[in-house]
């Protein structure tokens, strides 16, 4: 069985749960609002989502709940950092081995995903 604790979904669930508990403990959020946010996350991020699917949903999470904007922003920055470096590294490898078409496909995929994220801004 795959270890779910490494998934992006698990990470986002954990971050939102922590955020809500901290806010509730400090009386920085109403019970109703916290309940609405939890409900929203549970319904928008079903349990069987892949990392790629979660990544596409993340930018829209703070559209209704500004409380989630810090989590959204963090993941978008992480994405920029992680995938950009990873893509460049893989492309260099492919070009080194004359796999030009694969390198081009990889770059295309990166920009496609980036453009989807950008459209949510």
């Amino acid at each position: 069985m795959a270890d779910k604790t490494n998934s992006l979904l698990f990470q986002v669930e954990q971050e939102v749960a922590k955020l809500l508990l901290v806010k509730l403990e400090k009386f920085n959020i109403t019970l109703e609002r916290a309940s609405q946010i939890a409900k929203f996350i549970l319904s928008h991020l079903p349990e069987d989502l892949t990392d790629e699917q979660v990544l596409k949903i993340i930018p829209s999470l703070d559209d209704q709940f500004y409380e989630l904007s810090e989590i959204v922003h963090k993941h978008m920055l992480d994405y920029e950092e992680k995938y950009k470096n990873e893509t460049v590294k893989n492309m260099q490898e492919m070009i080194k081995h004359s796999h030009f078409q694969e390198a081009s496909n990889l770059a295309f995929k990166y920009f496609e995903l980036k453009s989807e994220l950008k459209n949510h801004e």
């Binding site: 669930e13 809500l20 549970l42 703070d62 810090e70």
Partner: protein
């Protein structure tokens, strides 16, 4: 000698009142408090391995429906008939008025103040729609649009704010109104973004014989396309820089009278864009869409734009106190307001 009483003497009895509502409420609160502590302990225990269960628990929180559930209310208590002056008024603080903005530098709210403020910001500045973005949310009300930054201490936001102040109203940019805590207020555009017009036109088109070029002409007339090019050149001349995000069509607004406005220049990903390149790119785009009679307006020299932008950024930085470790704004030097939160969570303002 007195005779023994025929009836047993009843002991003097104090009148026993039923337990008051205050006592009941206090007992309930005490009980809740104990349960609450345990609830938080249980949830924190699950956060490492089962965060989804925590979310389900939070989702199932029962929300109090009556005032009595939240406050200790005893209707038998006498109320003080003399109006009490709130403590904050003695310190010259007062509640922020709806839609109110201020002069000077932006005040940065953090942590608890920010949370309270964010919960009230829609009531203060919104009501007629809002737009969320990566950097902030714009709330609409009347003739005002109020932008509240997600990360008000980010230096890029200081550029945005200073630009809006300095160039608001120039080249069709929204006029600047004033600062608010964690954001600023500007003129509201009463139009539709090009992005929305394009989506609508292409999504609702059922005539398969229409070419992309024909649909584009229904979105923007040739005169409007020319007007957009002229606006961009005007933007370059008026502000001395490139816009940097003309591909983001939410930044181009068509007003009900057909007038074109542009807004929200880019700060983060300008790269090596130049005024001539930006204008030519837009010109080529429209040419490709079948606008054949457009003329390319004059714009500013490319080298000047790069230098102007650097100079502008330096000028902005001089008016900020920057945290040297995290490279974030700790304070705007010309701040004219102060904020605090009242005991009941209201956001209060004091003008210096």
């Amino acid at each position: 000698m007195n005779e023994a009483p025929t009836q047993p003497i009843r002991p003097a009895q104090a009148e026993v009142k039923p337990v008051g509502r205050v006592e009941q409420a206090k007992a309930t609160v005490k009980e809740w408090s104990e349960k609450g502590k345990q609830w938080f302990k249980d949830q924190w225990g699950k956060i490492t391995n089962k965060p989804r269960e925590v979310l389900e628990e939070v989702n199932n929180i029962s929300v109090p429906s009556k005032r009595e559930d939240l406050y200790l209310v005893d209707s038998t208590e006498k109320t003080n008939t003399f109006p009490k002056i709130p403590e904050y008024q003695k310190e010259n603080f007062r509640p922020i008025e709806k839609g109110e903005s201020f002069e000077g530098g932006m005040l940065i709210l953090e942590r608890e103040e920010r949370t309270h403020y964010n919960q009230q910001v829609e009531d203060l500045y919104g009501g007629e729609g809002k737009g969320n973005g990566k950097w902030g949310t714009v709330f609409l009300s009347g003739e005002k649009a109020t932008k509240i930054f997600n990360q008000p201490d980010n230096i890029l936001n200081a550029y945005d704010l200073a630009f809006a102040k300095k160039y608001g109203g120039i080249a069709g940019l929204p006029k600047f109104i004033g600062v608010v805590p964690n954001g600023y207020q500007m003129e509201r555009f009463h139009g539709t973004s090009l992005a929305r017009l394009v989506n609508k036109a292409f999504n609702t088109n059922t005539d398969k014989t229409k070419t992309s070029s024909q649909i584009w002409k229904e979105i923007l007339s040739p005169n409007q396309a020319q007007s957009l090019l002229d606006r961009l050149a005007e933007f370059h001349k008026g502000t001395g820089r490139v816009h940097g995000d003309m591909g983001h069509w939410d930044d181009i607004v068509v007003e009900p009278d057909g007038n074109i406005r542009i807004t929200d220049p880019e700060w983060e990903r300008i790269g090596d864009q130049t005024p001539h390149g930006e204008l030519q790119g837009l010109f080529d785009f429209f040419k490709d869409k079948g606008y054949s009679d457009l003329s390319l307006p004059e714009t500013i020299p490319d080298e000047a734009a790069a230098k102007n932008l650097d100079d502008f950024k330096l000028e902005v930085l001089e008016n900020l106190d920057i945290d040297p470790v995290f490279h974030k704004i700790s304070k705007y030097k010309d701040q004219k307001i102060d904020v605090k939160i009242s005991d009941d969570g209201q956001v209060l303002i004091s003008e210096k």
